[in-house]
Subunit: 239 residues, 2 copies
């Protein structure tokens, strides 16, 4: 499985993914699911992938190879599309090609993506690309998108995430959402890759890895669990 | 959907179910999913059902009709089986009959159950009956079973439920688990039916209904959400 989370706020973006890839429980590996495409000062596009690893890698590599080719205004790339909507469409189209190449041979070749970031001339945005290649955009009313194992980590976001939450507070919530998920599904595993993007910075900003060796991660998850037990204790029992 | 939860503790049992039945989102009704079979002072058996409503009702009604017939030691009923293991087997067998009657005609006739309670001569117990009719028992290491929409409400149980938790504290945790579930899945709905069974009481004990009109429910869920936001705020943000 996989857990990817993208959150959009007036202050910017918080994007995070786990790193576990598994072909059965007896074969797990660590992979990077968060990829950045950056032109400093001009655009930053982050892509988070879930699903068949061959498909997600094919899509990311195809997008990257498009950037290595000599510039041609007639060929769409992540560095010449005008808006993030156009970038989402490019990712969706690339996904359709990759999936259709594999579908005759592979039982489950599907994948999905979050496409997020900012291109100069417009605000930062967040899109979710479905396995079919079509996509939806996050909004004030739908501030976050999840891919993969979405359920265990959703309640804390529903309760504590608000529009005015700061980037750092949101990053904390995202980590707690990953903690809830990793406790229940071993197919979601560390390290957690996280990007905090400040609106209008057009630069990668703060990118971090969190795992059991990270003292902040240990403190956060430990203190949260203890605090939650105390909070529940402080509420009166049913009559 | 449905959410049923059974928790076993040295102190007794906490059993709870939601009440929503739906045939598509445009047709929802309120049903009772928690059924009690009681011989005061002798035995209490609680059955919680999830899945196809025709199947769960057929199983419960068949079990109840067995009790209405003239007593015959050669015919197993919930009131003459010797142990709760035997009761679980009876429910599983009844489920197999009900499912096989419907399967040729119904696309998805499956159902599953929690069977819990206490029969004089042994300790209180908790079983989970799979749609195939086989079953497993809860233990010190697996203190709770869930049916239906299990994921949203699991993190709080994983974090806060301990072996020594009292019945009333556990009831509170169960309600918070239902709150997390009902916020995310509209196919799980009020009222919540809850039974608190005190070990060795052989009586229904405390049975309650909780919904939005219940002031304890409103206070609990409101104060929990506020407390959770304050707890998250009190933890330091990522470096």
């Amino acid at each position: 499985m996989t857990y990817c989370l993208g959150i959009i706020l007036p202050a910017g973006l918080v994007l995070a993914s786990d790193s576990r890839s598994n072909a059965g429980v007896d074969q797990i590996t660590v992979v990077e699911k968060l990829t950045l495409f950056t032109q400093p000062g001009e655009r930053l596009i982050a892509i988070l992938g879930a699903g068949n690893l061959a498909t997600t890698q094919a899509v990311i590599t195809t997008l990257r190879q498009g950037l290595d080719a000599p510039p041609d205004p007639d060929i769409r790339t992540l560095f010449n599309v005008r808006t993030l909507f156009d970038a989402a469409e490019l990712v969706g189209d690339t996904l359709r090609v990759a999936t259709s190449r594999s579908t005759p041979y592979v039982e489950e070749a599907s994948a999905s993506f979050l496409v997020s970031g900012q291109i100069k001339g417009e605000a930062h945005r967040l899109f979710r690309i479905f396995p079919e290649g079509n996509f939806v955009e996050a909004s004030e009313r739908a501030q976050f998108f999840q891919l993969g194992e979405t359920k265990y980590g959703k309640p804390i976001l529903d309760r504590a995430l608000a529009r005015a939450t700061t980037l750092d507070e949101t990053a904390k919530l995202a980590l707690l959402s990953f903690d809830a998920t990793m406790r229940s599904n071993v197919a979601v595993g560390p390290p957690i890759d996280m990007l905090r993007y400040t609106a209008d910075s057009f630069a990668p900003g703060q990118r971090d890895k969190f795992d059991e060796d990270n003292s902040y991660w240990r403190d956060l998850t430990g203190h949260y669990s203890e605090g939650l037990v105390r909070l529940v204790e402080s509420l009166p029992p049913p009559p």
